[in-house]
């Protein structure tokens, strides 16, 4: 297995500090709280369509979100609630998008995880996996044209998404252009119901990095410390001109594909392996082991997260929903084209 990091290079980045760890943990906790609320709203019939959770993947996602800086670019995927929050997403926008509020970033035109603020570097995924990688790469091409040499871009993908042609084309292209792009592959063992052995035949997904001519690292996706260390290293390498970086984090999806799916097909033995650990629990234990936070403090944070989420939900619920009679029904940004359509 290729792992550019192992064994000796890890000391290039400073050790994970208490402050950073707690910051990341707080985003994980908030993301989990948000998603529990989303699931509950979905079960109560308050959300149409699907609800897709990132339970078990918060450590990877939070690590990316907090290691990106202001001015960087982030292309999150469906299980990136923690990273989205850490990158600056407002809580209320999450619920606005799920409810189809007129006030939300997609104004009811798109829902659930398909939200973002692309001009702020926070990209809005489409459902076609792999297709966001080249978009983030292109945003970095633009930054290069504009003389911005400090920004990097990061995007995530699942084990299933790595099988797409789009993923392959984008990483190859980013490597050719030597773009400061960090691609984090979260191998949660299942793509919807399809296990790894029906998805790819290489020994380890990180082995693909060498084929693309990019640096590749592995990390334990259930261990926040590992995620913070490895993602810090990868982002640092990207920032310092070493081209695209591929990071593969392993974990287990601790929910169905969406809330409509009970995940009956998941091999139950996996829950008793290291992969099946709940990263939030692992992180909480680590905080206590390090004596960085005790149970009471974590409980305070938990209550605080709940309160923030309840306030955001209440705010979103008071706001107007999308209304067909207010809709422009015009897909064009160009005013004269929109005008020409209206006249007709």
């Amino acid at each position: 297995m290729l792992d550019t990091l192992n064994p000796p290079k890890r000391n290039v980045v400073p050790p994970v500090s208490r402050e950073q760890y707690i910051k990341a943990f707080s985003w994980m906790l908030l993301a989990r709280t948000v998603e529990e609320k989303l699931a509950s709203l979905w079960r109560a019939g308050k959300i149409a369509g699907g609800v897709y959770l990132g339970k078990g993947q918060e450590a990877v996602s939070a690590a990316i979100g907090i290691l990106l800086k202001s001015g960087d670019i982030f292309g999150p995927l469906i299980r990136d609630q923690a990273g989205r929050l850490a990158f600056g997403e407002s809580l209320v926008d999450i619920f606005r998008t799920h409810f189809g509020s007129r006030t939300g970033p997609t104004r009811g035109r798109d829902g659930n995880v398909h939200r973002g603020k692309p001009r702020d570097g926070y990209h809005a995924m489409i459902s076609h996996l792999g297709s966001l990688v080249s978009v983030v790469a292109g945003a970095l091409v633009a930054r290069r044209f504009k003389g911005d040499t400090s920004a990097i871009g990061a995007t995530t993908i699942g084990d299933g998404g790595t099988s797409t042609g789009s993923f392959h084309e984008a990483i190859n292209m980013a490597a050719v252009e030597k773009l400061p792009l960090v691609v984090v592959v979260v191998n949660n063992q299942y793509a919807y119901s399809t296990p790894n052995h029906r998805q790819f035949a290489c020994n380890h997904l990180v082995d693909r990095a060498i084929g693309y001519g990019v640096e590749g690292y592995t990390m334990d996706g259930t261990d926040l410390r590992s995620c913070l260390e490895v993602v810090a290293y990868a982002t640092e390498r990207a920032r310092s001109g070493h081209g695209p970086q591929m990071v593969v984090g392993s974990c287990l999806r601790l929910s169905g594909h969406g809330e409509h799916d009970d995940g009956f097909y998941v091999d139950k033995n996996l829950f008793h392996t290291a992969l099946g650990r709940d990263c939030l629990k692992v992180a909480e234990n680590y905080l206590q082991e390090q004596e960085w936070a005790d149970e009471a403090l974590v409980e305070t944070w938990r209550r605080n997260a709940k309160q923030q989420v309840e306030e955001a939900v209440a705010k979103a619920q008071r706001e107007p929903l999308a209304d067909p009679s207010d809709e422009t029904w015009c897909p064009y940004a160009t005013q004269r084209l929109a005008q020409a359509l209206l006249v007709r």
């Binding site: 990209h123 044209f145 084209l337």
Partner: protein, 321 residues
């Protein structure tokens, strides 16, 4: 001094690059080589670093253009042949076409599609895909028929804030010449009456405008005066100009090089029948390429696409109906 349709496309790109620092060109073999058809000849020398050779990755070419456009650039993507753009359909129709609708962020990209048949080009270097792209909301689909439109419409494509599929016809590249390039042209959402007539209207676009013009000249000898509407842009579609023409002639024949099923011709006829049924003295007709892949053999290819003779015969039948 004359300038070809192909040179007009090169000149438009040169002007766009010169006038707007946000413009860059991305495509296979477009830099030092100057493009498969030489539409970017010498541009890499003139604008170093702004003409980028792409790997054979149509999906990533368009995806990256979308990302760059979000950041404020104005990318022009050259597909080597329109046919290969199908490898980027997901990025074009799901990502670029929906971006503004979903996020209120515009996606000003131009995708150049060297389109249509040429002798000996066969099934995979001859396709006319305007109907495919016109199906998807959010895309602008331009189909210039003249040297002047090739120039001004490509500049407009780069200028407007929406993703543009620019279908430039390969058959016209070196066959069509004009004395000089215009300063400005009609806006893309307006069709043009290419020939005034009295007896029937032919609606065409791209290379088929020239087949229709040739047919009209033949029919004139029979005292049938054909009016020709050049759509210029098939999405959005200027139905008003078509209806105004049909109001004068009461007969409609649509000619397009793409396949018949659910295409531009169908849309034009549907619009005219819906909004101007009372204007018609005869059932509207259409001529498309035959509903098979585009054949390789020159004789087969000539019979596959609408020709002047087929248009003349159909127009005569419609006139006599």
């Amino acid at each position: 001094m004359s300038i070809t349709y192909l040179e007009a496309i090169r000149e438009a790109q040169e002007k766009a690059l010169r006038d707007d620092p946000r413009v860059y060109i991305y495509g296979q073999d477009v830099a030092a080589f100057g493009g498969a058809f030489k539409a970017t000849k010498n541009l890499a020398k003139e604008f170093p670093g702004r003409i980028l050779d792409a790997p054979i990755s149509e999906d990533a070419m368009v995806g990256s253009a979308i990302g760059a456009a979000i950041e404020g650039m104005r990318p022009i993507v050259e597909m080597q042949f329109a046919d290969f753009s199908t490898l980027a359909v997901n990025q074009i129709v799901n990502q670029a076409a929906t971006l503004y609708w979903r996020t209120q962020v515009a996606c000003p990209i131009t995708i150049r599609l060297p389109s249509g048949g040429n002798p000996g080009s066969g099934p995979f270097h001859s396709q006319s895909l305007e109907s495919l792209y016109a199906h998807f909301p959010g895309l602008v689909v331009m189909t210039p028929a003249t040297v002047e439109d090739a120039y001004t419409m490509l500049l407009e494509a780069v200028d407007i804030d929406d993703p543009v599929i620019f279908c430039e016809h390969k058959y016209l590249y070196n066959r069509l010449k004009s004395a000089e390039l215009p300063e400005s042209g009609l806006p893309c959402h307006q069709a043009r009456v290419a020939r005034l007539g009295r007896d029937l209207t032919i609606v065409a676009y791209s290379a088929m405008v020239h087949e229709a013009l040739a047919a009209a000249e033949q029919l004139r000898k029979e005292d049938i005066e054909v009016e020709i509407v050049d759509l210029r842009c098939v999405k959005p579609l200027d139905v008003d100009t078509v209806l105004a023409s049909v109001a004068r002639t009461a007969r409609l024949l649509c000619v397009g090089e793409s396949w018949p099923w659910g295409g531009v011709n169908s849309e034009v006829i549907t619009s005219v029948v819906t909004h101007g049924f009372h204007l018609l003295d005869a059932p509207p007709q259409r001529i498309n390429s035959k509903d098979t892949p585009v054949p390789f053999h020159v004789g087969l290819w000539g019979a596959h696409k609408p020709s002047t003779q087929v248009i003349v015969a159909a127009a005569r039948r419609l006139y006599e109906w």
